[in-house]
Amino acid sequence: MPRSSTERNPLHAGYYADSANQARVPIVENVRLARDTYRMRFECPEIAKRIVPGQFLMVRLAGLNDPLLGRPLALYDTVCDSVGKPIGIDIVYLTVGKMTRRLAQCVAGDELDVWGPLGNGFPAIATDHLIMVAGGIGQTPFLALGQEYLGRRVYGATSRSVQSAHKVTLCYGIRSAGFLAGVADFKKAGIDVRLSSDDGSIGHPGFVTEVLRQVLAETSSENRAVVCCGPEPMMHAVAALCKRENTRCYVSLETPMACGIGICFSCVTRVRQPDGSWDYKRTCVEGPIFDAHKIEW
């Protein structure tokens, strides 16, 4: 886990970019995984050796003024050399706008400006059944997390130790079968994958929350925990279900960001305070992972 800042200053955020590295890096490959969905690999040993699941990077097309700002993208997985040293990063992205559409046109050798690792990353949750709930491209933080909890991979400079879960399930909801990405990676890691689709073209026809309800009903574990990433209404629904089921739930927010490092105050989200009121918190330095029950949806 990234350390929280040492000073106990009530106005200082928990997860500044203290171990972040900024570099201009070459793209190694950029491959299409599914409809509008690509996996990009780039070399960046300094970031790869430090990053943990749930953390993100800011990625910018080098040398361009439009798009001007970096975009936050989650760690999908680290890439290791032949002796197991992390040297590269894989991200998986959906083309939705100005920057990601350009990103899809990049080829090996093109350069990116990247800075990271950023954000808090997932906490080390003591659980024997980790249930990961993804809406669409919200699946990206979960390959690394699942691998870590099943003891397949370690991440981070201090090789943080998470207590292994006996079982990791991914509930993965998509619009339509064509968007399905990375399922082979998840299955190879030993993750139990349950699908749903809006149009019924694959898996359970309907919402991923219905799949989650089923998984929660099946699991015998008292000690289960849910992590979730996807569109906000879906995360809200998952949080509400977990609350009813008395289950711990962490969400990874996809708040738009301009800097990713806490200096612009644009990525705010409403977080409940101990006194019951809410305050705007910067998602990039207080999150992106939050206890779902503390978000003022």
């Binding site: 200053n9 106005l11 200082h12 203290d18 003024n65 001007l68 738009p256 301009a258 490092i261 612009c264």
Partner: protein
């Protein structure tokens, strides 16, 4: 090469500063920037009372720039003094505290509160924020600008900088007011008022409808403002607006700025201030000068 600069009563080790609202409270940047090397840090503007700020969206990217309507989200002057200032003061860098009041009295009261506190090198009066409604706009009237600067000057021995908005008919006229009021330096520019629209939804994109444009897109406007004000006043100027490279910095010096602040570039190239600082001695040497001051305002006439 002597990089130090003198802005009225304020001496800075070098002319590369970072702009208010684009560098957090500096603590955020400690891992990416060697803070001790900066010529000065202007933390995010503080107000008397805490402010929640505006609802999202607070920023929108535009061509070579961005709009923001953060709305002076801050925890108020007392929280700043108690929790941010001790850290800032420990950095060994000139700290220029940016303040915004709703009235002349509030500005003067805040100035008095900060007077004599350890670790404050100067105050920057933010009389130019486009995101706060209500209150007199000191940045658009030369007379109230003069009275405000004079009032704050008499409340403290700390050097005073006035930060101006470009959203006026004649920025030189406002600058003259700041000079008459006794400003040690004038910072320019704050953001240019703008907006962005989603025509399909027929809605403004910013939560606050209007916001301030910053980044490379506004550099020509900022250069023009520095050039015009340099003709009108003798007070040293601090150039701000779209600066991202050493060439940008040198252009502002030649136009008449004695120092510069880097803003939006910190968002998309967190190391920019260090890159510019490293390139500065070489650029001054190329200009054939021995110190920054010798290149300031050296623009030649085309005729």
């Amino acid at each position: 090469m002597d990089l130090s600069v003198q802005l009225g009563r304020l001496r800075l080790p070098n002319p590369i500063l970072v702009a208010s609202g684009t560098f957090g409270y500096a603590r955020e940047m400690a891992g990416l920037v060697d803070l001790g090397r900066l010529g000065g840090i202007v933390p995010k503007t503080i107000t008397q009372e805490p402010r929640t700020g505006n609802p999202p969206w607070r920023t929108v990217e535009t061509a070579a720039g961005m709009l923001n309507s953060i709305g002076l989200d801050n925890d108020g002057i007392e929280a700043f003094v108690a929790h941010h200032l001790p850290y800032l003061a420990s950095l060994g860098v000139p700290i220029i505290v940016s303040i915004a009041g709703r009235t002349q009295e509030e500005f003067v009261r805040m100035t008095g509160r900060l007077a004599g506190l350890t670790g404050i090198a100067a105050l920057e009066l933010n009389i130019s924020c486009p995101n706060v409604s209500g209150g007199v706009d000191f940045g658009t009237d030369a007379g109230s600008c003069e009275r405000l600067v004079a009032g704050c000057r008499s409340a403290t021995a700390t050097p005073i900088i006035a930060k101006l908005t470009p959203n006026v008919t004649s920025i030189a006229a406002i600058a003259k007011g700041a000079e008459a009021g006794g400003a040690d330096a004038i910072s320019l520019i704050n953001t240019c008022l703008g907006m962005a629209i989603d025509w399909r939804k027929r809605r403004p994109l910013l939560g606050n409808v209007l916001g301030g444009l910053s980044g490379p897109a506004i550099k020509p406007i900022a250069l023009r403002a520095v050039y015009q004000v340099a003709q009108a006043v003798k007070t040293p100027l601090v150039g701000i607006g779209g600066i991202s490279t050493i060439d940008d910095v040198m252009e502002f010096f030649v136009a008449g700025a004695s120092a510069v602040q880097l803003g939006t570039v910190n968002f998309y190239n967190p190391k920019a201030s260090m890159e510019v600082l490293e390139a500065l001695p070489g650029a001054l040497a190329e200009a054939g000068v021995k110190c920054t001051a010798d290149v300031v305002g050296t623009l030649l006439s085309n005729r």
